[in-house]
Subunit: 317 residues, 2 copies
DNA sequence: GGCAGGAATGTAACCGCTGGCAACATAGGG
DNA sequence: CCCTATGTTGCCAGCGGTTACATTCCTGCC
């Protein structure tokens, strides 16, 4: 029996119809009478026929495939996002082609090109950098359906995003309101990178007429627990010793928490920590960490919907 | 300036050469002299040409795409695996088409069919169930390159896997050697499912001439922290109160740890916990949890290598 | 009985690219 | 000056499927 891939031609030969008739029958065209359709359908089933998606794509000019670009999937929140997106797309009959940019702009560009070469019908991108979107903007300009999973609404690209600035603002504000004035910030400070959280943090201080001491912001150079631990170490050995902390994500927050435990600081009495994303591990950490929620389901649904709309609109948008 | 996808024909028209010449030139064929190649390459660049991977696949009969099937990506260890695989495949020029089975056999079958329809060159599968592999075996029988990411080596399918039975055995053995005799087990007990860990657990007891009390094994019905918490609750309110615990993964272990903290049990003095997979969050939990390591890098490298070998071998294996 | 009309099916072209082979040109040897 | 060798390039078919159009064959009506 072997594999020897079954084509329409094979079914045609076996049933005595032409390739065309078989093609139409299998797609339930009303041009083919029910009897014929049945015969053909049965033959197809018996031969375990699987339509060649590649060939179909070539003529239909759509691959029913979406490219998903993430920076790095080890961040639990991106993980959830990836899964939710895959699910949402599958429900709509799309497959997910997946690639990581490894937080490298060159790679991100390469990946996007590769997706284009593979004729994906659209892309969902979690960009490495909120400030270097030219290559994506170029795509968008040539009417390629692209939706960013983060980013300012004013980047000139469709984006569905959590308002990170506002989240950071509210977190900081909360700490200020509970009496803290010296509040540390753990955030990857790539000057060209994500400034949203930092902006929100500063805004909260500005509002009460205070500036921000730069020594209170430490760049953990990553977003793992261990990076958080050492960033906290740096922060606490700095010029000013904070009593509160805003961490850009929960992994960092857990690392900071761990540092506190090791150094006999009580949380939240001696050190109030707020994380981002509200992942399960943070919620159930030794001391539950307050966290700014990242509404995965909402973000992904919005993003997928938006993308579908762009694809549906064709070239006229 | 519009998308209006550029084809070889467009470059041919612009340079005055034929489609064929352009095709050869862009693939650096030695049949085309350097001068011509240069002209064509420049034109292609200027027009921002991207080869149509779909069309190429149709004739070359390979898509340079691998299908990756996971049950559920929220398990951190699968996450790491997914990323490592994507990376390893990308290095070898392959793209990753990704889908989750949601732990449902029907869906797993559907996903596999879909991948076949999309002509993926091979598949990497983390099966829902170690005992229902017939559909995969069928694929394999028709010479389709497939490698499982877990499973007994004797399943009749290529598999690269951690020896889970041995891991569980060693974990249990370790607890026994440190004086524990009442050891709980938190593992999803689907009778048709993964029995490896349970087998290892039982083996360790059998070796010292002891049976296993069934009330010591609790099915958490999932693998999240919260499930672990409640399973621990059930276990500790059972007939026998254990002093040690083997949890099938680290999320469950963290949940159990959390239960101990809430109920004023010291870890590891009052309750020794061993998890599986050695994820970062466990390592940095309130009390670091001992964990059986899951060598992601090794597993993925082996799996990808194996798959590449199968693909390379063509039909004659 | 001849012809219109519609149902059932077949034919041909094409999607963008690749591979085999033919064709043309130029140059070198006889 | 012709013929072959070599180097360059073009033509055609085909991958598996879809689409527009053509054909066949029956039925029914005047």
């Amino acid at each position: 029996m072997a594999r020897s891939i079954i084509r329409l031609k094979d079914i045609a030969d076996r049933t005595g119809f032409s390739v065309n008739t078989v093609s139409l029958a299998l797609r339930e065209s009303s041009r083919i009478p029910e009897d014929t359709r049945l015969v053909i359908r049965q033959a197809a089933q018996a031969m375990n026929y699987q339509p060649n998606h590649i060939a179909r794509s070539l003529v239909s000019r759509e691959t029913k495939t979406i490219g998903l670009v993430l920076t790095d999937i080890t961040n639990p929140i991106l993980t959830h996002t990836a899964q939710a997106i895959e699910l949402a797309l599958a429900e709509r009959g799309y497959s997910t082609l997946f690639a990581t940019s490894n937080n490298d702009l060159e790679e991100e560009i390469k990946v996007v090109e590769m997706f284009r070469s593979r004729q994906v019908d659209g892309m969902l991108i979690y960009p490495r950098n909120h400030r270097q979107l030219d290559h994506i903007r170029r795509l968008r300009a040539s009417h390629y359906p692209v939706v960013l999973l983060v980013g300012d609404p004013d980047a000139g690209i469709d984006a569905v995003s959590v308002d990170e600035r506002r989240g950071a603002y509210k977190a900081t504000r909360h700490l200020i309101e509970t009496g803290h004035t010296k509040i540390g910030l753990l955030d990857s400070a790539n000057p060209l990178g994500n400034r949203e959280k930092r902006d929100g943090y500063q805004q909260a201080f500005a509002e009460i007429g205070l500036g921000v001491d730069p020594s209170l912001a430490v760049d953990p150079q990553g977003h793992t627990v261990i990076k958080g631990f050492w960033a906290m170490d740096t922060l606490m050995n700095g010029r000013i010793r904070p009593t509160g902390l805003v961490a850009a994500n929960d992994s960092l927050a857990i690392g900071a928490l761990r540092w506190c435990q090791k150094n006999n600081l009580r949380v939240p009495e001696d050190m109030a920590i707020i994380g981002f994303d509200n992942i399960e591990f943070a919620e159930h950490a030794a001391t539950p960490i307050t966290s700014v929620n990242y509404p995965v389901a909402m973000v992904t649904d919005l993003a997928v919907d938006r993308l579908m709309r762009l694809i549906g609109a064709g070239d006229d948008f």
